[in-house]
Symmetry: C2
Subunit: 411 residues, 2 copies
């Protein structure tokens, strides 16, 4: 030990010293370094830069006065306060699970409370994705899912996503051609980044493939409640299947800061997910679950009364953004008017535009967005690179119009 | 697909149906079913049963009025409320990390906020314990750690724990004899279940072994702040080593319901733990971190003003329990007066007593506790089985005296 201590003091940064540290686990070494999406912190933006970077709900859409109300009720009621500060169950609060189950149309026993959507995804991946298995995923994709997936595998089969969500026929063709997968990952409502919604028929066809070929579906649905146009395609096909894990969260409706979400699991997956939970973090915060349960149980209409103005606000913002692009940069993009969610995914019409250079110029002009390229899930990044992902949720219409003026100047 | 659907409808519970479900992951299959400790829910206790089951802080010791105050301040300040509802960093709140770092005497860059102690343990295990590696652990042990450890391995080397905590000389002897381990797990202050505290010399010797043989230390320290007698043995040996991961939590001081704790990591482990966190759950709740940060930053003395009466209360309870055992059951147990923490670990003096039968009779008489046997970490469960683990934290002195009268009746 003396020798080692002396070595450390003498040559604290030498390779010899580094080599004496015990290795981290293979699992840990397999997790990639940050790159692309999420690395916007590397940019030093203009102080007045307008950020269209993340799927962040509008502060104005979050029910702060109601939170203040239930919070006061909680902390001034000694018995309730005491209960909120104690341990609670791994499955989550009964009243909250029952409320979610009523809303989703499932048995409450299938609902497990999580620490938000990403946590739900990691629980699902660790439970059903075998080490090294191939997972079919959206292309383009919510890139953080690929990081979550690294917990089990980095073998992905990219499946195109279009205006109707995941191209289930393309998946079926790959399976018919002999590809074998352990799971499918998709965002069925208001796809991140590409806006599409999987049709009810597409959902049924996807479930049929899962049953035919024997794999699980990881259905990631954080934007589901933010529909402001078009028709809801329903979750019934997923909820009626014992192959579909539906992942949702209060992040986009009551705020990301809670870190409270839920899984709707096929019955047979509840015990393994709970066993995993017992080992990863015990249970979700009793404090946050108490407050959210009190909120949603205020009365039958409370949650929808929160959502109605939120949907109207996101519609106004989405349409302001589309209209501004058409007015300021006519013909520069092919855009689809969003029916919900928090993202616009305009495609550059001129293939000669250097998308990376455009993003840099836009940043210099004071508007930040995610380059489409970051969202490719396969080796062919060209089609994704032709898109911009513009997140409008937490920007006012005026900010969005100014952002587009700056983008036009950068063009 | 049609065939499968018909099979499901016709014979929903047949083995043929079960076999068509995709398998869960090997990791998930490796996680054991609940057994022993934690299965007290299997007992249907008398309605008036006194529970001495868990390391639960006293409700009276939790600062509810202060929580009410910071909560009102937060939710009536629109800017602060908005920030509390948004995403935050994977490492945790800066002010909270700085406060913890000052208290622990480390660089704030080494502090990572977690969702409580168990979460800190799972992050540490997944980061530094190689699949299948042997981990030296306390014997007796906090049994939930063995479950967390299943995430990586089930190979354990039990090391005895006595009144001075982990028997570091016994560990040194096993290492000298050729045993090789990936990590050591121990609770150094007010050991759960066996009350002991590792001496400063023992801590230094343990760190020296970690440096000599090249392994990490998992130092689980939830009871550290609950000292009411004797001398603090300090964390400096651990904090000065690049082999020690110190796991702590606000669970026993501000309440389990928050699910907020922290890791003090060697510098080189911060990036891998954050990469893991990025994939498991993103970050700890912004809401709970905001409230706890406001609480501890109330003023420099706030946390100690919360702890002082809590320590006095736990001392009163611990001594009431010891005194009652001596008065009601003289000579039946060998007891050590606790210096802190939430547990008494009395040993039966008569080896002929059937400990399992005693626990059943005690339950019938209306007192519930954990059987010592549940805490053995090795194949030899005899010595542990001679103990009872009595958790006194959330029971009043009067309840404890009544519990001992019931235990005496069961004897």
């Amino acid at each position: 030990m003396t020798t080692i201590t002396q070595t450390r003091t003498a040559t604290a940064t030498s390779p010899a010293e580094t080599s004496t540290l015990p290795p981290i686990s293979r699992l840990s070494r397999r997790l990639s370094e940050p790159r692309g999406f999420g690395d916007q912190t590397l940019i030093v933006p203009r102080p007045d830069a307008i950020r269209l970077l993340g799927g962040i709900p509008a502060p104005e859409a979050l029910p702060v006065p109601d939170i203040a109300r239930v919070s006061t009720e909680l902390w001034t009621d000694p018995a309730a306060a005491t209960a909120a500060l104690q341990y609670s169950s791994a499955t989550g609060f009964t009243g909250l699970r029952e409320w979610i189950a009523r809303r989703e149309g499932v048995d409450p026993a299938r609902v497990v409370i999580t620490n938000g959507g990403l946590h739900g995804l990691s629980l699902a991946v660790l439970t059903v994705v075998e080490r090294g298995a191939t997972v079919a995923v959206d292309d383009p994709i919510f890139p953080l899912f690929l990081r979550v997936l690294e917990l089990a595998t980095d073998a992905v089969l990219p499946i195109p996503v279009d205006g109707d969500g995941l191209d289930v026929e393309a998946l079926a063709a790959r399976l018919a051609a002999g590809e074998r997968i352990g799971a499918v990952y998709t965002v069925p409502d208001f796809h991140n980044p590409s806006q599409g919604t999987l049709t009810t028929d597409g959902r049924r066809a996807l479930v049929a493939l899962a049953e035919q070929y024997g794999f699980y579906l990881l259905i990631d649905n954080p934007y589901r409640e933010l529909r402001f146009a078009g028709d809801d395609q329903g979750l019934r096909p997923f909820h009626e299947s014992d192959r579909a894990i539906v992942v949702n969260t209060f992040t986009k409706t009551l705020g990301p800061g809670w870190r409270v979400g839920w899984l709707v699991l096929p019955e047979q997956l509840v015990p393994p997910v709970i066993r995993l939970r017992n080992r990863l973090d015990g249970h979700s915060s009793t404090v946050t679950q108490t407050l959210i349960e009190h909120l949603v149980l205020t009365d039958d209409g409370w949650f929808d009364r929160v959502l109605a103005p939120a949907r109207a606000l996101y519609a106004e913002r989405a349409f302001a953004l589309v209209d501004a692009l058409e007015a300021e940069l006519p013909g520069a993009f092919r855009t689809v008017r969003p029916e919900g969610g928090l993202f616009l995914w305009p495609r550059l019409t001129d293939d000669r535009v250097d998308a990376a250079a455009l993003a840099d110029r836009a940043a210099a002009h004071g508007v930040l967005y995610q380059q489409g390229e970051f969202f490719a899930s396969g080796p062919d990044r060209w089609e994704a690179s032709r898109h911009l992902r513009l997140a409008y949720g937490d920007r006012t219409p005026e900010e969005l119009r100014e952002a587009v003026r700056r983008l036009a100047a950068a063009f």
